[in-house]
């Protein structure tokens, strides 16, 4: 177990050799060390084949050492915790890690779909758009299912994600993104000023490039210097260092999204710890110090396992003491890559050949390489590679071609600054000819870029720039920044000759490794006119893979530019959309899933209702008692019919606390109500309530409800449950924005008052036993509203209202007394067989009575449609009055509110059925309206319905078809007046 890894250096690196970690890949056990990534541990164990590409299923190895990884994607963990498409290069190794290769069958080494590569001459860019059309019906049946199965990468878990996620918000003065040399110095400069600083870094070890740096900084090894600065930052109370935290998006007003991988480095999260935490970081200033990404050179066979970015080779050797191979070569166009390879050689890597496209490489570099026994080929290009995993490269030099043995080919085409976040507000990067790279353009407000992310490629320059930018950010916010102490660093000269593509290559030359987009595909796009960068990307899928084109975008652009003859900036820019790196959906959801998806509102009688055996139903955010089944009842209909019958014959009660309740106080409330209701309220007497209908300004009905006048300057309004918040907001708009001169104060009292409706012929008898005062018809007549008390001194508001059509009262008490009131009413009504009823029975009774509710208040109906036309005052202005008069809203042909009975009384009605004239063919031209609500009326012994039908009130008695093909039904119904029971209202006035 603790035997040294095959490709592990004996010493050096930032791994802890005393902490071996066991892991498996494709079922084979290996071990690595604390400080490894999965990729470094695989390399140290000599594993070179790790994945298959998207389209051609070509064998692929580890290509990079960071988030830009296009190849080394694995399924991490197993079972419900399976994480597809996980980059081995940023996966921190932990004991027990289990990884599996993906997008292959039956095995990684023997993938059946690798036959695709033999079809590759036919599968070029745009291939799909030109074929699979014959015959048409084969697409869904044959072609697409095959394509879908072959496409995709990893597999999602089958079970529910067992881990927890959290979201949190934090605030700072200066957010520093990236803890490399520039980021560390920026955080230090800002932190020393006393500003609140957050330093967020995606790695588990702060330091960035310093951790892969062979040289010294400030007279100590670079990683030690990083550790020293990190330690100082951690000691500052105003600085928060957030490792394993990727800032993934720059949103508006200085809000940044960040993902903290709290537990991803563990087999399972610690008790009560989330797997990941989403941070919203609100920063007054931000410093982007995200570094740069190396880009490859495109040549034949450049995707073979063993071909790797040069900087990644340096990282594996220096930071992880892992050798990507035993015989290395470099193919580059810049000095930086040389220096990295020389350092790797010093560290123990066997670097044998350097191939550089340039003819004018600095003699000192050439001499240094040769001094280490490295063969140097300048003015040369790699044109092909060989081996299942890399064994030989083929190089074209000025004098000819030769094959050179190498199991690892480091490639460097230069570096692209990580400008991603600078683009998130639409900023376009600018092309820098000297660097042959895009550098930040217009940045999001408050964000400045430091170090390599803005194109500074020397370590000293990055350190200095980071300090300056960090200081500037803090200073801009008014903090005094002490002069930073900078390590003395000289920079190596930057030398690069832009070079993108070895034109005379043999074999497929991949631009986008993950999506298998080749240089030839770029050529096809060019031939077919998809030449602007947006079209190129969409047509070829270049840059659309999980690596977001980090190593391919610029190269693809450059190849297209060379084909069109235009410059790179003329051809386009590569812009980046958030997120910077992919973010788990679980983290974005946080705690809000399952039953905690949304808060639940419970009525004051919830526990009481549960004790009564209630079945609950979701009504918006509320949970309400739907019905109260009793033993022996065969279905809900029997229960509901019993409840309805009990109310109609004796007495029942229901919690109606969910209605919106709004207190209105002031000298202008009456005038105000007149302006928001279609009917008049100014003359409403104290102690009385009135039903009102409210329109939107466009003339359609918004809501209905009753408003009672409790005192000369005190009213209380009820709204429907669904519209409570909307109506309150509307009233506040009217008062604050339209008529601020009115003396009206609004207060929501929905939560303060529990409200219970008591209905039925025995309602008064029951109430009389619970109320402390007189509730006789004289004291509390129909539509009366009085303040009093119940249960021996509990403050109460008593309303004589009825939704059911029976003698009815609504009794409001302070919410904490709601359950006690229900109990008291039950006790008082016991001798009458008082029955608790739920929303279903309430619905049945309102339908029997012909009252409108949510299904009719659809936002598509006018007051006239619903039969309230005559209620509308003609003597005053009110919201919606003017536009309600438009011809389209007053058309007599509009569907209007009426009742319906099945002609065959045994038939069941269905809401949602459309009305057709008898004999009319079922088509849209004959559509006359639809059934809005239905119920089985135990009182009548058959189903009844409410609905909207053209000229309804003129057609009472007419028979029409209720057409309901989605339930396979069609029945004949009779149009009738909407009140099925006691249309004269004798009962409720009783």
């Amino acid at each position: 177990m603790s035997a040294p890894n095959r490709n592990r250096l004996a010493s050096g690196g930032l791994i802890d050799r005393s902490k071996p970690l066991a892991f498996s890949f494709d079922g084979t056990d290996y071990h690595g060390y604390q400080g490894d990534t999965l990729a470094s541990a695989l390399l140290a164990n000599g594993v070179r084949l790790v994945g298959r590409s998207f389209k051609y299923h070509r064998p692929r190895g580890i290509f990079s050492a960071g988030a830009e990884e296009p190849n080394a994607l694995v399924e991490l963990r197993a079972g419900a915790r399976r994480e597809p498409n996980t980059r081995a290069t940023v996966t921190e190794l932990f004991d027990g890690l289990e990884a599996t290769s993906q997008n292959r069958w039956p095995s990684l080494a023997l993938d059946a779909l690798s036959v695709n590569r033999f079809l590759s001459p036919f599968l070029g860019a745009g291939f799909y758009y030109k074929t699979f059309m014959w015959p048409a019906s084969f697409w869904e049946k044959l072609y697409e299912p095959v394509i879908r199965r072959a496409a995709g990468l990893g597999r999602a878990a089958v079970e529910e994600d067992p881990d927890h996620y959290e979201k949190a918000t934090t605030f700072c003065d200066v957010l520093v993104i990236g803890a490399g040399p520039a980021g560390l110095m920026a955080a230090l400069a800002a932190g020393r000023s006393g500003a609140r600083v957050i330093l967020a870094d995606e790695d588990f070890l702060p330091g960035g490039g310093l951790n892969a740096e062979a040289g010294d900084v400030d007279r100590q090894p670079a990683p030690a210097y990083a550790a020293q600065v990190t330690a100082e930052l951690a000691s500052l109370p105003n600085v928060r260092v957030m490792s394993r935290t990727s800032v993934f998006g720059a949103y508006d007003s200085g809000t940044y999204g960040a993902l903290e991988r709290v537990s991803d480095h563990l087999a399972v999260p610690a008790p009560f710890q989330p797997r990941q935490r989403l941070w919203r970081i609100v920063a007054r200033r931000a410093v982007l110090a995200a570094g740069a990404t190396e880009r490859p050179i495109v040549f034949g066979g450049n995707d073979r396992p063993g071909v790797m970015l040069a900087g990644a080779v340096g990282t594996y050797v220096q930071r992880h003491a892992a050798l990507p191979g035993q015989a290395m070569a470099l193919f580059a166009n810049n000095d930086g890559a040389w220096r990295g390879m020389l350092a790797a050689s010093v560290a123990g890597a066997h670097v044998e050949t350097i191939v550089d496209v340039r003819t004018d490489v600095a003699p000192a570099l050439v001499a240094a390489a040769q001094a280490r026994g490295i063969r140097v080929l300048t003015g040369a290009q790699v044109i092909a590679t060989h081996g299942k995993t890399l064994r030989r490269i083929e190089v074209a030099t000025a004098t000819g071609r030769e094959r050179i043995a190498a199991d690892t080919l480091a490639v460097s085409g230069g570096w692209s600054p990580s400008v991603h976040l600078t683009c998130h507000h639409g900023g376009k990067p600018a092309w820098n000819e000297t660097l042959a790279a895009f550098v930040p353009g217009t940045c999001p407000p408050g964000l400045t870029v430091a170090g390599a992310a803005k194109g500074l490629f020397g370590l000293g320059a990055c350190l200095r720039d980071g300090a300056a930018i960090g200081a500037e950010a803090a200073q801009a916010l008014g903090f005094a920044v002490p002069a930073p102490d900078l390590p003395d660093m000289a920079d190596e000269a930057f030398a690069l000759t832009p070079f993108w593509h070895v034109a005379g290559s043999k074999g497929a030359s991949f631009v986008d490794l993950q999506n298998d987009v080749t240089a030839k595909d770029v050529g096809i796009a060019h031939k077919e006119g998809f030449r602007s960068v947006e079209l190129l990307k969409r047509y070829t899928t270049l840059g659309m893979a999980t690596d977001q084109g980090r190593t391919s975008n610029v190269t693809g652009l450059a190849i297209m530019a060379s084909l069109t003859g235009a410059s790179i900036p003329e051809t386009g820019t590569t812009i980046f959309r958030p997120p910077y790196t992919p973010v788990s959906l679980g983290a974005l959801a946080g705690h809000h899933r399952g039953k905690d998806f949304r808060p639940v509102r419970l009525t004051p009688t919830h526990e009481w209702a549960r004790a009564q055996g209630a079945v609950f139903v979701e009504t918006g955010a509320w949970l309400r008692a739907q019905y109260f089944p009793r033993p022996g009842e065969k279905d809900w209909l029997e229960t509901v019919s019993r409840e309805v019958t009990a109310v109609r014959s004796s007495v029942g009660l229901i919690d109606v606390s969910t209605f919106g309740k709004i207190d209105l106080q002031g000298s202008d409330v009456g005038a105000f109500l007149d302006r928001v209701y279609i009917n008049g309220f100014a003359a409403l007497a104290v102690g009385k309530a009135r039903y009102g209908v409210m329109l939107r300004e466009d003339g359609l009905v918004m809501d209905d409800g009753t408003t009672a006048r409790l005192a000369p300057e005190h009213y209380v309004m009820t709204t429907t449950t669904a519209n409570a918040a909307k109506v309150y907001q509307h009233l506040e708009f009217c008062l604050q924005a339209l008529w601020p001169e009115l003396d009206v104060s609004l207060a929501s009292v929905s939560e303060q008052w529990a409200q219970i409706a008591l209905a039925g012929p025995r309602a008064r008898d029951v109430l009389a036993r619970v109320a402390d005062g007189d509730v006789s018809n004289a004291a509390l007549p129909f539509m009366g509203a009085i303040e009093g008390s119940v249960m021996g001194g509990v403050k109460a508001r008593l309303f004589r209202l009825s939704f059911s059509g029976e003698l009815g009262f609504e009794i409001a008490v302070p919410a904490r007394h709601g359950a006690a009131l229900a109990q008291a009413l039950m006790q008082a009504g016991a001798e009458f067989g008082i029955t608790p009823y739920g929303t279903e029975a309430l619905g049945v009774m309102r339908i029997e009575k012909g009252h409108v509710s949510g299904n009719e208040l659809s936002g598509q109906t006018t007051a006239g449609d619903l039969g309230f036309g005559r209620m509308a005052s003609t003597k005053k202005d009110y919201i919606g009055r003017t536009l309600a008069a438009r011809p389209g809203l007053t058309d007599p042909d509009r569907p209007s509110f009426v009742g319906f009975k099945p002609v065959d009384r045994a038939r069941r009605l269905r809401a949602g059925a459309h009305f057709l004239k008898l004999g009319a063919p079922p088509d849209m031209a004959n559509d006359q309206g639809y059934m809005t609500s239905v119920a089985y009326s135990p009182h009548l012994g058959h189903w009844i319905g409410l609905g909207l039908i053209k000229r309804g009130p003129e057609r009472l008695g007419e028979h029409v078809r209720a057409y309901d093909p989605v339930r396979g039904e069609e029945i004949e119904v009779e149009i009738c007046a909407p009140g099925f029971i006691d249309p004269e209202g004798v009962r409720l006035r009783g």
Partner: protein, 207 residues
């Protein structure tokens, strides 16, 4: 899911019930103690147009603490007055059994008074980790260096509207709509479990 236990502090607690009093999350000394034991009398004062300053002044004199027309909590041993909106104040009292009556007498025609004592459940949150817990739901800056004792905010915590204030260096109060008590308590438990949270429920009696 079967291979590893999940640490759900709410396992077995129905979502439509206020979780019972007790200890949740990591064991040991709780990082947070949440309590709903204290049930103050509460009323909303709305200054009528043009009377905000006068009302604030009268409230200051009556309750013995500087009430300002801004999101602050004026705290004394017996009362707290919180600004929730221009000219709007939530008055909490431990002693005024007829708080609306007292306020009407005090403010006369200058303000509209609405009783709200049953509209809210008042959570007391104590412990160093309270700001970290609240940061898991809040979208406002509750850093103890910024949100000082006496600071108040009417805002949203994990989809639940609240009025909260910092009552002292180490204690915080949150008013939550009564119907949302169960959901809010679940948020507290889920977010506080990593610190250890002790929930002290209401004394039976007034609830």
């Amino acid at each position: 899911m079967a291979d590893h236990p999940s640490h759900d502090p709410l396992a077995g607690v129905p979502f439509d019930r206020v979780p019972p009093a007790g200890a949740y999350g990591v064991t040991g000394e709780p990082g947070i103690v949440a309590s709903t034991a204290d049930e103050p009398f509460i009323a909303l004062v709305i200054a009528r147009n043009g009377h905000a300053a006068s009302v604030a002044g009268r409230l200051s004199r009556a309750f013995g603490s500087e009430v300002a027309d801004r999101p602050r909590a004026a705290i004394t041993a017996a009362s707290t007055v919180i600004g929730t909106a221009p000219g709007r104040f939530l008055v909490l009292s431990k002693t005024e059994t007829d708080l609306p009556g007292t306020l009407r007498a005090l403010l006369g025609a200058e303000a509209a008074i609405t009783e709200q004592g049953d509209a809210y459940v008042a959570f007391d949150l104590a412990g160093d980790k309270v700001p970290e817990l609240l940061a898991k739901g809040a979208l406002i800056d509750l850093d103890p260096r910024v949100f000082r004792p006496g600071d108040a905010a009417t805002t949203v915590l994990a989809h639940v509207g609240v009025t909260l204030w910092r009552a002292s260096e180490t204690s915080w109060r949150v008013l939550v709509a009564r119907s949302l008590e169960a959901s809010f308590t679940r948020f507290l438990i889920a977010s506080g479990a990593e610190f250890g949270l002790r929930l002290d429920g209401r004394a039976p009696g007034r609830g």
